[in-house]
């Protein structure tokens, strides 16, 4: 009997080979990503630990599915590469099999939904404690402005119409709560926040949507003109961090770097006590 000619000899071998190489390279680089330094930035907040855990779990699950599916694809392409004279199997369906691979992904995804939902509630649906250290950050093209509420712990009223010259945030000096506010025009100040204590950041914008992003804190929140958004977290490491803008805001979007310093609360209070207030700066 003449040998059956295999049609597609090259494709039926090369494609599986490429898929196998893909699986190996992907698996190795992802598994060692942390070791190579291709990883999330070193963690510096409390809630970030749970985010990182969920991230790694998701990575493992999707990684295993990736390996499984690409490998099966490679295997089937190789194993069933064409052969003249051989007939394919007439196999139109198998309800039990289909139910299996409906239920298993549904179960896995439901588990991810439940754990994601719980973590999200902790991060976004739990209000900050009343004694959280509060600070207001304003985005504008292309720098960050900052305001602290001062000794009274209350931010004075603002009005966009009042923005001018020496009042870049539009603070309403008629509001008594504004007298002790400490503010820095965009690009002129540093954000000082205490370590180990809840910090709540109120985000505002003067012109377009910006986004307050500090990678090490696992924090990102859009700053939207016309409204106040809020994010809170507990910094766990002292040091100097960078704020990057994470929502396209124009030509200088990539230059919108801010500086954020985490230090002992006493040091923060000491620094604040030395700053000029609205009463000093705005006539």
């Amino acid at each position: 009997m003449p040998t059956q000619k295999r049609v597609g000899r090259i494709e039926g071998v090369l494609l599986p080979l490429l898929l196998v190489v893909l699986v190996i390279v992907a698996a190795v680089t992802v598994a060692f990503a942390r070791h190579f330094g291709w990883w999330l930035r070193p963690l510096a907040s409390e809630h970030g630990a749970a985010i990182d855990r969920l991230f790694v779990i998701t990575l493992v699950i999707t990684g295993l599915v990736f390996i499984l599916v690409q490998s099966l694809l490679a295997l089937f392409v190789f194993r069933y590469r064409g052969e003249n004279g051989r007939r394919a199997i007439f196999y139109p369906d198998n309800p039990r099999l289909e139910i299996t691979w409906t239920v298993i992904p549904a179960v896995i995804l439901t588990a991810l939904i439940v754990s994601g939902g719980r973590l999200w509630s902790r991060i976004q649906l739990t209000p900050p404690p009343p004694d959280a250290f509060a600070v207001e950050v304003w985005g504008q093209q292309f720098k960050w402005a900052i305001r602290y509420p001062g000794k009274d712990g209350k931010f004075g009223r603002t009005d966009m119409r009042l923005i001018m010259g020496d009042n870049p945030l539009g603070i309403d000096t008629k509001d008594p709560a504004s007298k002790d506010d400490i503010f820095f025009p965009a690009g002129e100040g540093e954000l000082h926040i205490p370590v180990g204590k809840p910090v709540v950041i109120y985000l505002r914008s003067k012109d377009v949507i910006h986004s307050f992003y500090v990678p090490q804190f696992r924090v990102k929140q859009d700053a939207v003109p016309g409204m106040v958004t809020r994010i809170w977290f507990v910094p766990t490491k002292k040091g100097t961090f960078e704020i990057a803008c994470a929502e396209l805001c124009g030509q200088g979007h990539y230059t919108m770097r801010g500086v954020l310093i985490v230090e002992d609360e006493a040091k923060v209070r000491e620094w604040l006590a030395q700053q000029s207030t609205v009463a000093d700066l705005i006539p």
Binding site: G37, G82, A88, I89, D207, Q251
Partner: protein, 602 residues
């Protein structure tokens, strides 16, 4: 009283002149080819824009004198400037998603395949069909014109969030460029609406005798459901575009609150930028499924035909397309987890988003099982269809990270997102389009496209795209933000590592781009000089392969085909050949209770 029955050819006047045959044609086949060619030209333009982007990202600060000669206003000193960089980002995305992928998938393949595969002579509304193409072309022209207006093209990203996109003081491209973008999108939406009306009506009303909904090829199911998706979702973007035009030109405040841009007060009252995001994403999320569903349908068809096996799980495949379409309407908020919208919405959208992975998983396993036990024939189309499965899985899995809000906090607006959507849309959906072009080329043009060049195109592209987009996942892990002109301002970004990754990506992108020339040359040469094609070179079952290559006006001559079976009777045990076209009547039943030949007549 008997009346004379006229042959179709006597009653229907064939177009006679060059203009009515090839230019202002009402024949869906010609309109489909017009859409495909225009869409691929637009895709090529968008690809060139991506090369400019990659030039900047791979070689920041390096002056290229030829660049300055080419783009004197955009590349002073031989370096692309920031405004034009944002314009390339915006226009690349807009053109690729709407003017290339959507137009080719829905306009191109719906028109060419639906009437043929259901046994109809043409679409239900041929004049409106023709109009839909010309309105699409007008939209293309308006969009390309925006490159030549003062201030340049829109630069607010394809998502065009206001106030950036509503305020010319905030960005140069938010002047004329943004206005033309909005007008082009409005025209595009008019075009797709006309198309959707045609596709839905035709599938429901013009199926030939015996072609029940349960015997439709999966391409038709996919294109039909895509049309419904489009009909229901595009009008919302149309409304949003009108509102944004009003904010920009008539001083309304739908999306724009009181602004102070660089010390200039721009008084508005009460507008909310988040409203735009809701309206935009209400369309734009279904839109990405509009982009991928045609390719899913094509992949099912190409895999089954070339594996010589029925598509596995036809009913579940249809149900999962419907489930994806339904769910796609209620996931849009996953683009807005950190937007400032109520976080409770985050919980709701997370649930629906992670669930939409289930029907996608079903489809993936069904495609795999279609290959199992098959007798695989590796045409170029088949290679791209298999490539679709591989890249769709890669891209789809990263969606599971992004759909989970706590994880999305870290990955939102980073290169992880860029990797995700390129794998599913930029690679996977486009692979489906390539598979479709290679597979139906003989039917469209009556000639065979060169398989050797086609396969070379596949290998270079498949290998190349993994080099372009896989490393972007690592940039995402590192937290590198997207839409950045350069990365040198931040210490948290490891400079040497990120730079090297970007160089690899850029070079791979240029090579993949070059490989596409193989496709263009092959296509053009084969249209005129390719060997003549038979009626049914792939020995496939669906109706279009019963018509001549290419089919005449009216598709079927005097007699419409009659359908007796579903499209997937491949390798039926006992049948003389390994395929049984849909028009073959069942042989008389013997002992078994089936159609006699073991095939399916459901």
């Amino acid at each position: 009283m008997a009346h004379e029955v006229h042959a179709y050819s006597e009653v229907h006047h064939e177009p006679k002149s060059f203009w009515t045959k090839y230019i202002f044609s009402q024949d869906a086949k010609i309109i489909g080819i017009q859409y495909l060619i225009t869409a691929f030209v637009m895709g090529f333009i968008a690809m060139v824009l991506s090369w400019l982007m990659r030039l900047q990202l791979g070689f920041p600060g390096k002056a290229f004198p030829w660049l300055e000669k080419l783009l004197p206003n955009a590349a002073q000193g031989g370096i692309l400037n920031q405004d034009f960089y944002l314009a390339t980002v915006t226009m690349h995305g807009t053109i690729m998603i709407f003017f290339f992928i959507t137009a080719a998938g829905t306009g191109g393949f719906s028109n060419f395949l639906i009437p043929l595969q259901i046994g109809a002579r043409d679409m239900a509304f041929p004049f409106v069909n023709m109009l839909s193409y010309w309105v699409y072309l007008a939209a293309c022209i308006v969009l390309v014109a925006s490159f030549f207006v003062p201030g340049g093209p829109a630069g607010g990203g394809w998502t065009m969030y206001p106030p950036l996109s509503s305020t010319k003081e905030a960005l140069m491209g938010s002047g004329w460029g943004a206005t033309l973008w909005l007008i082009a999108m409005a025209l595009f939406i008019v075009s797709t609406t006309m198309g959707s009306l045609n596709y839905i009506t035709t599938v429901l009303n013009l199926r030939t005798r015996g072609m029940t909904m349960g015997r439709l090829p999966l391409t038709v199911w996919a294109l039909f459901i895509t049309a419904i998706l489009g009909l229901l979702s595009f009008p919302v973007l149309f409304a949003a575009a009108v509102m944004l035009l009003l904010d920009r030109h008539l001083g309304t405040s739908f999306f724009t609150p009181y602004l102070v841009v660089s010390d200039k007060h721009i008084p508005h009252e009460g507008g909310n930028p988040i409203l735009w995001q809701h309206l935009f994403w209400f369309l734009a999320h279904p839109e990405v499924y509009i982009a991928i569903l045609p390719s899913m349908g094509i992949t099912s068809e190409v895999l089954a035909t070339n594996a010589r096996k029925p598509i596995f799980g036809y009913r579940m495949m249809v149900a999962s397309i419907a489930a994806i379409a339904f769910l796609s309407f209620i996931v849009w908020g996953h683009h807005m987890f950190v937007s400032g919208m109520n976080p409770m919405l985050g919980t709701a959208f997370m649930t629906t988003t992670l669930l939409i992975a289930v029907p996608s998983a079903i489809k993936t396993f069904n495609w795999l099982t279609t290959l199992w036990g098959g007798n695989l024939r590796f045409t170029t189309a088949m290679l791209f269809a298999i490539g679709f499965v591989s890249t769709f899985v890669t891209g789809g899995l990263t969606g599971i990270f992004l759909g989970n809000p706590p994880i999305d906090i870290q990955l939102h607006d980073t290169y992880f997102v860029v990797a995700h959507f390129h794998f599913v849309m930029g690679v996977s959906a486009v692979f489906g389009l390539f598979a479709g072009v290679y597979h139906w080329f003989p039917k469209m043009f009556g000639r065979m496209i060169n398989e050797t060049l086609g396969k070379l195109h596949f290998w270079l592209t498949f290998i190349g795209v993994y080099f372009v987009f896989f490393p972007m996942h690592y940039l995402g892990f590192l937290g590198v933000p997207r839409r950045y002109y350069a990365f040198d301002q931040y210490e948290f970004i490891p400079q040497a590592l990120v730079h090297n990754i970007n160089v690899v990506i850029s070079i791979a992108a240029f090579l993949v781009g070059a490989a596409q020339l193989l496709f263009v040359l092959n296509f053009l040469w084969s249209v005129f000089k390719g060997p003549k094609a038979d009626r049914n070179p792939w020995k496939a079952n669906t109706l279009e392969w019963q018509a001549p290559s290419p089919p005449p006006h009216g598709n079927w001559g005097d007699e419409l085909p009659v359908v007796y079976r579903w499209p997937y009777d491949y390798s039926v045990p006992g049948a003389p050949e390994d395929f049984i076209p849909q028009t073959v009547p069942p042989t008389p039943a013997r002992v078994r209770g089936d159609g006699g030949d073991g095939g399916q007549q459901r």
